[in-house]
Assembly symmetry: D2
Homo-oligomer: 351 residues x 4
């Protein structure tokens, strides 16, 4: 079934690339390039990312998708006997089909708070592990994984990120940030976590492309040089090394030219704000209060039947026998017309 | 260092996509699509591939790159205690950074003959394994892997493929064909192995896109329905599931419209033939006789120094203290001008 | 530091083997045997286990230790993309150092109730998974793991086991029972779960030896013939195949001669009952009510300091700032004198 | 079928333990001990091994069997993207059912010479890898594995071991020695490789127990302190941590008391020499010239039929249509009577 007739709010990866990217792809299509990201455009993209993150020594690599990136980075940073700490709602915990365990590593889950790990919970967990008399029979926490925005669309504060960093440092455990939707955090007025702050607080992070304007692609940043030796080979071993690596370099070079990456999410945030306001105005209940481009709303099952005829949305979870939580996602590609039409439908259904 | 000033013969993945693909990408860029290959274009591409392979029940999946595809398919078809039989020159044996072993499986190598597995060697190996009193302490061969064309640019004959099929059937071991460069086999006058024959002889195979006209992407075909249960999840687990799956569907839909895939390699074969003739005419020795788009030639190291200033080529292996084997590859994108210029340089160097 | 001067209540694996086993080991020490469990004594042991479990077609294998057994059985029964459902307190969840994940499989945890999985929770989980729209992006539950007695010393009822069996059957998911301490369940008056019932309800289980009278060793039973093809090779692959396999066969042959296995735990249960009564009489609080050979008691930290000089016990977890939960374990080897002395010390400390 | 009526020459693990071990097992059977090798006897055994190897800082661990030990040590020393170099006849290459690959690592094979790796071949391989332009797409050699005696019963010379050590040092690749049958090397007049030399040349090695006088067990030695951090946890993760660890410690403590380990193999070597002489005297052809306790002899298939009625031996490989290579193994337990009877049968069959 094609969803092309429906209003596209199912996810933030329903359309192709930002027009600036498509333009450059077209221009360079017949220019011969060396493979595997050794080309000049990829090198330029790396330099721009280092500058934007204010970490001039960083190693930067380009991979194709989020699950692949998480599995590869986590495998690179963990020793064979270590696991990765994550919120129970983390993408690596729930929705990566066991890609982390496929690499031999356990995901050590902590209960989430609004989709986030609380610094004090991480500290308590790492402290308890170190004190546990049975720790040598257990999986050692070798890394902390967070996502920003989270899978629930929520945001860490700068203060929380700094505390997580301090706690990880104190326990000698690296901190890794999954930025699949990072552009939507950066575009959000509430957000006070900048790229340089992320680079200062994390041992590794990735800047999401797939959901943020590229056709595909994620940029991994290790702020400290040679933090992950032989990462190129590890990428190859994970099937994560793109032959035509310049396709990734070119996309990120475009996103990091003239600050595009930091502006690209703005229409998505504005669209989401408009939709949230409309939902509340017309009496719907939000499941979470989220400031970014994902909206979680509780709808009567009867309403959903009507909605499904006109709007493509994501099922989230059952709420009760008569209601369901759904997710509506805006993106860099969301248009005013689409928002207008959606709010009209919402209003209609509320009556 | 950009290689854009050099004549591009280092590999067959130095340029972007066939213009027909780029055109469609541009046209559909802002059309909303559902994710993960569930879109209508991917479905259409699957139907066209089934038709071209004359296997109407086939399961068809799209992945991003060759190593990823090999690792995912091999993992899907092997039991945990089985390994995959391959030529010692096979891509999975040598140049995938241990991606197969990362999934827990041994690559069981047999000596190659011109880059190929000889059917009689495979038969002898499988027969010997079954008779070995220690076989329960050994890795059971659970699959045979071949590539067509091979890593050396050579081709299996239809007769060889039929014999391999019969041997695999007799031993109840699936046969898997890596078609990373399949378009160049199909375009080669010497080749008598068609897509329907491959589908009739193999339990799984992939139709290469990355080296054959797409930006990226490989199409996996399981001719028998449900031969690899839960392959979608296995792809996700391997980080091989593209969010914007329609990008892959669209590219293969284009290649399998009006027989483009089977014609696309012709200029590459003609170019390679011209270059081979020139090399021999000017007194160079070919390292292998190969009929497809890869040319392996022995050059004096002194000549190479000069060549490197004008041509981008691949180092293959040292030949002796004074000579080196290099690879020149043509592709769908190779132009007459490039061939003409290369033959001119070759002639010049020979004098 | 030797603990040999302390009263041995730290665990149920502090002494060697039941005297009957040691006697036979001594008798057969110089009798040549074929390797890897292909000997006649191992075969006799298998026959006796089949008889005791009333499953005449069962495949029986002998492995060395519990973690090894769990990892090998779970790997044998799961497909590569599946995980194993367990209580969050399960041995495989917490105390096997990631051995299951090392094999590529996720442990899917559910909250425990007294160390047990509740049948209704398992049903709800499996039902919810089947209904989850994102299930193809998640780890498929491919097995349910329980332990009997549990890690908390509690017991499933026959009714609960039958319900778990019915639920697993309905969802087509195998049920696996870890019987590391099974002898102590069988010796417990409260227990109504017999070996034949376990064999009727489970797709695989193991009969614990290490904690139940052998020097080492666990007996895996697959009640249905050929339920785990090539399990011998899988054992080898896991490093779990003992060269002198008859050492395992001999021990289990002894335990399953004249019903020794079912009687061996009785002194341990009686000892534990005596200790539990004493603890309660002298005003200590039990952390769990458990009927088997493990006793979990809350002690003041001050008391523990004194206890540690005379008794070897296990730290379990902190209770509050001033108290700690400890475990005392009895075993087949616990003597009346030891119990008497322990109760005397407990009384003394309480005053 | 019991082989107890046949003369036991099938392997060197057909009988139980050296009487001195059995005696101590019996004496300590009811002495309570702490688990997992933390007991005083294991500590004493470690001290004696350090002294015998003249490496006072060594970390020493006890594991149960050879395949398990190889898999655990190799996994501990390799990075995730590295493989282990071995002879194509190495135990890890052929007869461990893929245990190394199960841990994610490739076995990188080199052709053997009499079952050994030639130092110059290792040097050439490591040098070629470092020079290979494609090395980042390949499995990096992260370790060299040798066995002493080899699987073919042959021995490295002290000079060869020193050269391998120097080569490994030059390439910064650790050297690991599998000493499954080390006692038979140490007892062999030809051997000039001592325990201190092994400790001086290797980053890790194991002293075999299973084939050399224990019921089971291998002692891993890392001559440099903390060479394999968290090895205890890695053992647990591999299912290689024995609960009653003192059983291993006690056996090695016995073997390393009064130099027992270095003398124990002498009768086996003398027996093997007698048998080799008899075979040659009666006109049989040896397949290899081996100085240790394994004898490889070519027999007519007709002769084998008769031999099989009286002697338990190992099939090695077919020689030609009418002949087969078999292996006869002596051990610490081989008696003069058995040797006498075997030579009588051999003589008889030759006539």
């Amino acid at each position: 079934m094609s969803s092309s007739q429906l209003l596209p709010f199912a996810s933030d990866y329903m359309e192709g690339a930002h027009p600036a990217i498509l333009k450059r792809l077209t221009e360079t299509n017949r220019t011969p390039m060396p493979g595997y990201g050794t080309d000049a455009i990829s090198e330029a993209a790396r330099a721009k990312i280092r500058a934007a993150c204010q970490c001039p020594e960083a190693d930067v690599y380009f991979l194709v998708g989020g699950t692949q990136t998480n599995a590869t980075v986590i495998d690179a940073l963990l020793a064979s006997y270590q696991g990765v700490v994550a919120a129970d709602t983390g993408h690596i915990s729930l929705h990566e089909a066991g890609a982390i365990e496929f690499g031999g590593h356990k995901v050590l889950t902590l209960p989430h708070t609004d989709g986030k790990l609380r610094p004090e919970d991480v500290d308590a967990y790492l402290t308890a592990f170190a004190a546990d008399g049975n720790r040598d029979h257990m999986v050692m926490p070798g890394m902390v994984y967070i996502s920003h925005p989270t899978e629930y669309g929520t945001l860490y504060t700068a203060e929380e990120l700094r505390r997580l960093h301090a706690i990880c440092q104190a326990h000698k455990v690296p901190l890794y940030l999954d930025g699949a939707r990072l552009a939507y955090a950066l575009a959000c007025p509430e957000n006070d976590v900048s790229l340089p702050l992320i680079a200062a607080c994390c041992d590794a992070f990735y800047i999401g492309g797939t959901k943020c304007g590229t056709l595909f692609g994620e940029a991994v940043v290790f702020p400290q040089k040679n933090r992950a030796p032989h990462f190129f080979t590890i990428m190859k071993q994970h099937g994560a090394l793109l032959a035509k690596g310049w396709l990734l370099g070119l996309q990120f070079d475009t996103l990091f030219t003239d600050g595009l990456y930091e502006q690209l999410g703005k229409p998505a945030i504005e669209a989401a704000d408009t939709i949230r306001k409309a939902l509340q105005e017309y009496g719907y209940r939000l499941f979470f209060q989220t400031p970014t481009n994902q909206i979680f709303v509780i709808m009567a099952n009867e309403q959903l039947e009507h909605l499904a005829k006109k709007v493509s949305y994501s099922f989230w979870e059952p709420y009760d026998d008569a209601h369901t939580v759904i997710r509506l996602a805006t993106s860099w590609a969301t248009t005013d017309d689409e928002v207008h039409e959606l709010t009209r439908i919402i209003k209609e259904l509320a009556q």
